[in-house]
Symmetry: C2
Subunit: 214 residues, 2 copies
DNA sequence: GTCTATACTTCGATAGAC
DNA sequence: GTCTATCGAAGTATAGAC
């Protein structure tokens, strides 16, 4: 549905629009979603306040634009991790990105009360989780085993939960045993992930290292 | 510290004050923390708007009062779980309380940008985690084993993370393998928690069932 | 696409009568 | 403790000239 109710103004791709999305993202990260107001986002972007509502009909539309940009970037990084030489480590690194933690938290809170953002977040989360599952599937297959209990999706849930927990603990200043858990993760990555390039301790050699740089 | 900077007005215990805290909590859960405004919280509580700033110098003070009430209730429930007949199950149930999920999420977002709330949340989280560790310690001791790797605190982190992950997944509509994980949890509770009252499958009998009703 | 100007609403917080 | 009344600031969104 291209023009639902108010075809008053279209909004193509433009320099200003990008600047507004950037400004909004910065505000969310630095001060929380409540800081994203017409005037403040315009000031941060260095444009006239009226332009905000020219490019985005409502503030919620701006939120959606910010979310989509971050979501697409994350999905791309996750896809690269899945296809990379060390899927598990790649997934771990993507999910441990500290910058995303605050942003995710804000959108999670937003989604609780804004239908549009909620459904967008749900769709994104499902795709994100699916990619994680693919990464895990690739590693499991390389080891020549079959997961029964827990199943592959369940194990994915458990593993993908860990970085999020560490991130949330970090957000509230809980650092107890963080180091130990990180060391444990490192140990398991060494043991179960596909072997690093140049690592002689491979127990299976037919993985194709189609790595792409960043 | 009874009168820190602005001794303009004191605020004792009163019916109105409680009503305001209740109203604010309801607003946070239903519509997010941004819905807590002077006028709206007064309307929800059925009192005059000016009373909000009589009882709470700022809106942030009101947020803190709401948080403290919930935090103290949670700590009490967690303490009861620790002392109860089945510590692991008790902890699991306290942490899986669906009502708290939204509230926690809101305060987590708030804490990202409000110093006072951040430090309050940090202190609370540490105490909460400590109680979880005590529960786990009690069960581990009952089994007569010693945890070395992962250590007790690390295992606590891992275990206490699971219900939070499930809650967050639930918040974004991710229900994949939720049932399987829940069943897995149930299985482990049956196996490792202290035996339920009247359960003949005890492998150790010197636990004192000092349960307290709620 | 971008600007000025503005309509309308709601905000936090306070003063002062009762 | 509770009320009426209000200040000044900030919010969303739009109209219309350029």
């Amino acid at each position: 549905m291209p023009a639902p109710t108010k075809p008053r103004r279209g909004a193509p791709e433009s320099k200003t629009r990008i600047a507004l999305v950037n400004a909004a993202m910065k505000l969310i990260v630095d001060e929380g979603y409540a800081a994203v107001t017409t005037r403040r986002v315009a000031a941060e972007a260095g444009v006239n306040p009226a332009l905000v509502h020219y490019h985005f009909r409502t503030i919620d539309d701006l939120f959606l634009a910010v979310f989509r940009r971050g979501a697409e970037a994350n999905l791309a990084r996750m896809q690269a991790a899945v296809d990379g030489p060390q899927p598990l480590r790649g997934v771990w690194e993507v999910m441990s990105e500290p910058r995303d933690t605050g942003l995710t938290l804000e959108f999670l809170a937003l989604a609780n009360h804004r239908k549009a953002i909620r459904s967008e977040l749900a769709a994104y989360s499902a795709r994100f989780r699916e990619l994680q599952e693919q990464a895990l599937a690739r590693v499991v297959q390389a080891h020549g085993v079959t997961l029964d209990k827990p199943s592959l999706p369940a194990l994915t849930l458990l593993l993908s939960g860990l970085p999020r927990i560490l991130a949330m603990d970090d957000a509230v200043g809980l650092h107890r045993s963080r180091g130990e858990v990180l060391a444990l993760v490192e140990e398991y990555l060494e043991r179960y992930d596909l072997p690093a390039v140049g690592d002689p301790s491979a127990d299976d050699g037919d993985a194709e290292p189609g790595h792409q740089a960043d």
